[in-house]
Amino acid sequence: MWDYSEKVKEHFYNPRNAGPLDGANGIGDVGSISCGDALRLMLKVEPESERILDAHFQTFGCGSAIASSSALTEMIKGMTLDEALEVSNQDIADFLDGLPPEKMHCSVMGREALQAAVANYRGEEWSDDHEEGALICKCFAIDAVMIEDTIRANNLSTVEDVTNYTKAGGGCAACHEGIEEILGKVLAEKGEAFDPTAKAEPAPAMGNLARIRKIEQTIEMIRPNLQRDHGDIDLIDIDGKNIYVALKGACMGCQMEAVTLGGVQQKLIEALGEFVKVVPVGAHKHAPAGAALTEA
């Protein structure tokens, strides 16, 4: 069973804006029947303002495909087309409080349906430049095609290279056999063999200072979201892989605390390209265990 968020389940059980839309003037059909996910997005656009007056969907697909479609229609209603085109697949996933890595492609499909529908409204040809392969790295949701293309484009020859360029293999490392196999295949095209003892190109290294700045920037970017819900987060300390933070305001003791921290951790991992652990202080090293209780 997938670990779907409550919001994904809610949008799946009660999809918004499902079914045909009368008077639609922008339609995007995307997806792949072989993969089992396809979506028709229908927009009713006011020509003068290019504002999306209404959006509906029809989806052949799994729970998260239906939830992503439903979320997308809710997000873009009222936006102008240009505003809507700014919606990224990560925004769709965030709206749903996250998607399992195997299901991130559902949010990608939503974004592509949007591009296709806008192109259809504007009378443009839309062509898809993204081909999806088998999911190799489940920690960072990287597929085989992405890895293969990156190896080719950058002449990579080691697993470490692949991790540095795509993040694939940088988490639990279970996919290294799969990455080696892809390396072997691509290297064979050039008449070379994969050498497991080869040394990686020096990684695009991030110095200590750059790393701290990156962590600060990432936390700063997250704060407005939490502040909107009357919460906040502070960076307390960085110790190797451990990043200590303090949740404040409404975030404190919130039932969703673990989810919030998980999201922060994911954002930091993505920004840094390495595994880090987000540790809330209070129950940990910076404050005695009873402190939070006394305050409350």
Binding site: D29, V30, I33, G36, R40, C62, E132
Partner: protein, 402 residues
Amino acid sequence: MGPIYLDNNATTQCDPKVVEAMLPYFTEQFGNPSSMHSFGNKVGMAIKKSRAQIQALIGAEHDSEVIFTSCGTESDSTAILSALRGQPDRREIITSTVEHPAVLSLAEHLEKEGYTVHRIKVDSRGRIDLDEYRSKLSANVAVASFMWANNETGTIFPVEEMAEMAHEAGVMFHTDAVQAVGKVPLDLKHSKIDMLSISGHKLHAPKGVGVMYLKRSTRFRPLLRGGHQERGRRAGTENVPAIVGLGVAAELALEHMQFENTAVRRMRDQLQAGILAQVPNAFATGDVENRLPNTANIAFEYIEGEAILLLLNKEGIAASSGSACTSGSLEPSHVMRAMGIPYTAAHGTVRFSLSRHTRDCEIERVIQAVPPIVARLRKLSPYWDGDKPKADPEQAFAPTYA
């Protein structure tokens, strides 16, 4: 109303009698069966009893033909790798396109190591092409490995006949029988099957125990070497509680064989007929005349299986699906694809697998629950219009690949 479990091909509930028989082997009967003292001796006797109970279920000639393993997958790997190591000059294996990953993934890996793998195709009802099979049998083949019954559709292969054919050609025969054991009567002493895999948790025994049947005098090379357990053919201290449980489960399976093939079959038939009578654009997959008595695999066109399962789950009904999404892969079930089921139906397949614990009232509830779920998802489907598919559905909705 309690939850309804119709996913018995995935795993079964441990029978309470099995659990009861196992418990002493976690507490007072903790000895190592290899030990000389009385602690070990009693445990050794318990394993011997279990071996005899399994021998009875599968109709083996000798109890020493029963080798305990950790699971069905281990039994499959042991059998196939033993055939290759025991006959190093034979560099080919024959299997089918619809095997369980326990065999198919191993075959794919062996291919990378330089072995030739022949995958025999099936027809639209999942029946094996015996002519193609015959044509691949030769002195280059180390082993032919075919499942007794398919886990997704329940379709039964004529493995006894196929083992005869292999023997005439001097080829070893293995069958992955994890779905068949306990549901189909077996009489291995009168067959030419050399090796057979059993998985405990498919027949109301616990997870973590399996059996590889090895016909006496079949050339064998162990997968795990070490101590003298299982006469040196599978080293490693025995999982005694689970082995005792599997013995009891085998005895119960033999007792219920008739029930499985009458009462369970009748409930399965009612379920399938009840659903198909109400739901348009749905059909049963596989060889419906020749399949396991507990399995019905139904394809619901123009909707996706994971979505069906989530809604069934909300109604307290557990089943499984061949859709890509339920496995996180990009393709629907290889079994559905091998039978040439179109994508718009393959993704919407739902497998209902019953057991002797299934009740008539549960079947009635499922028959009532399924049609509205299918209708609800079809309302969301771009292929559907009102109460029927759009005219020429593949034309009406032809998305850009994304």
